[in-house]
Amino acid sequence: MRWQIRGGRVIDPANGHDGVADLWLEDGRVLAVGRAPRGLKADEVFNANGLVVAPGFVDLGSHLREPGFAHKATVAREARAAAASGFTTVCCTPDTQPVIDNPAVVEHILKHAASAGGARVLVLGALTVGLAGEVLAEMHALKAAGVVGLSNLDRAIKDTAVLKHALAYAASAELTVISQPEDYWLGRQGQVHEGAVSTRLGIPGIPAAAEVIAVHRELTLAAAAGARLHFSRLSAADSVKPIVEARRRGQAVSADVSLAHLCFTVDDIGHYDPNFHLRPPLREKTDRKALAKAVATGAIDAISAGHEPHDVDAKAAPFGLTEPGMSTYDTFLPVLLAQVAGGAFDLATAIGAASLRPHQILGREGGHFSPGAPSDLCIFDPTRRWTVTDDTLLSSGRNTPYFNHAQTGRVVATMVGGEWVFQASV
């Protein structure tokens, strides 16, 4: 099957391309951007006039909640919601029940994802058994089952020796360790950023130092072990510098920030709004600005959705008793475009950070339109205005602060491996 995506603004940061062009695809691969290869005739044409054609987005940490928490979300539904939001690949986090610390759970998730017909679902395995931070997971077995990386998520590993061993063992299994850095002791009682807001609301705080200390600790141990390390969802300005310096020394380290941490600060919690209960916590305006700048300069590689859908009850409680996380798929594109419009970084950087860079972090081909690349792409209308309502939300998670907010920019179609996994009904 040959497709001509005709007349769209093709943005391909890897190849420095940004302009109206035709995109030619054949059998799930990119053939060319621009003029058709000699003698080629398309079987089908997609008219992308006035639309943007970009490599599909990747979420490095999606909480798909299945197995174990199907009352919050299911793999199939979230994979379809992701596709409708422009994601072609999402990484399922291992905090399921049972935890993804053995091949059976990996297979279970991949089976559900395969039949969903949505975004491609990759699986992150647990770094330690049960995410308990004590016993190493069977990393080789997980790798054989298909996991693309290992993470202990926000369950900080108390014992530094366990962390050291986990990094070393992951290095020998040639798996990337995805870390949400937080010092266990400084973070264990906290629920919000430690500062004026935690003081005013009387909520135990998590100092920025909890993250910065963990970044240093993990960089040091990963360097010694030769482990490939990715920091996910950074929240503190001071976390950036040690990562940049380590990279300069040649260490294999990358980082992402969640889009929410580029948009909000601790002040948005106002009077206990549980939609802003996140882990790591939202921090100060200075942190938010420093993180956006780090994306602009490339010091932070990627922007993640960090999609965490919840059931209503999970957020219907006093702040400290609610579960952290924000449902972010549905609003990812317009919010990302709003960041661009606000001058945080340019569109090519945004798309690179949402697609090319996470592909590279996962060591997977894609995120660009070089000939032979997989035809994973999203097509969106950058000017289309819409309002977030119960009807528009495709994720099961209603835990978004954007309810009834007007958005600009909407996904029109998403293709994974040459197949349309989403096409808006016009």
């Binding site: 003081t199 009387g202 909520i203 106002g270 008793l321």
Partner: protein, 324 residues
Amino acid sequence: MSAADIQLDAQGRLRHFIAIEGLPRALLTQILDNAERFAPVGDRAVKKVPLLRGRTVANLFFEPSTRTRTTFDLAAKRLSADVLNLNIEASSTKKGESLADTLRNLEAMQCDMFVVRHQVSGAAHFIAQQVAPHISVINGGDGRHEHPTQGMLDAFTIRRHKQDFTRLSIAIVGDVAHSRVARSNIQALKTLGVPDLRVVGPKTLIPPQIEAQGVQVFDDLDEGIRDCDVVITLRLQQERMQSALLPSANEYFREYGLTAERLRLAKPDAIVMHPGPINRGVEIDSAVADGVQSVILQQVTYGIAVRMAVMAMILGNQALAGAA
């Protein structure tokens, strides 16, 4: 949504009493003035007025507290309301029932007011958002956030002794970090115009950026209470030693315990306050707690009048809103 938004109705009248933060000075003054009117009721043969006859006040205590519950209980009964005391920590939450479910059950009992105490900050705010429109919520203390009726009864006590807030130096001494009383005191006293408000304690017990609330921070007690008109000492919990915030109760008393000798650094007519219950020989010496400058027992008495005032205002406003 700000706390004030949920606490006031469209006409700016008190609808819930969740936090002092954000409430206008005139409203705080009105609470104090109304409390003055209710105070004499406690001196009469029949310590009761029929104002809230037929109304039902439910004390929802998710965390045990005999003293606070008793004063709310008494305040409601002196207004002739029916009182329902529910110790919820012992019942539903342990059975896994969610707070929202508990509230729906209580609403079905046709109460007019919930007095809520909860160990989690923001609980009263959450409950006020959740309840049916005909129910008002008074915060009887939520986590480390606020204890607004305590804040108002402390302001009432201070006004009785010192009249003009705008000329006072007041020190709050002790575990400010974990104290909802301290937060309500700071909000109330700043709003009422106290120009010199200080918090005094070791850095481990002073929350970060408390200066943003308009207070001066001292880690030396002698400096902190020098020339003060009012010294408010806070209760120190045993847990503070276990979590390595303090070495020992003995060392705390040596550095921050209020003794007669230290109190001499404050103004000669300074009053000493404490929200209770007192740890004698930890945050305050018995000689001071029982001394002539102590107004600790008056605080307890005034607490009833202040709570009567708040209950009567809120339920009166509820009636007005219903009549409109």
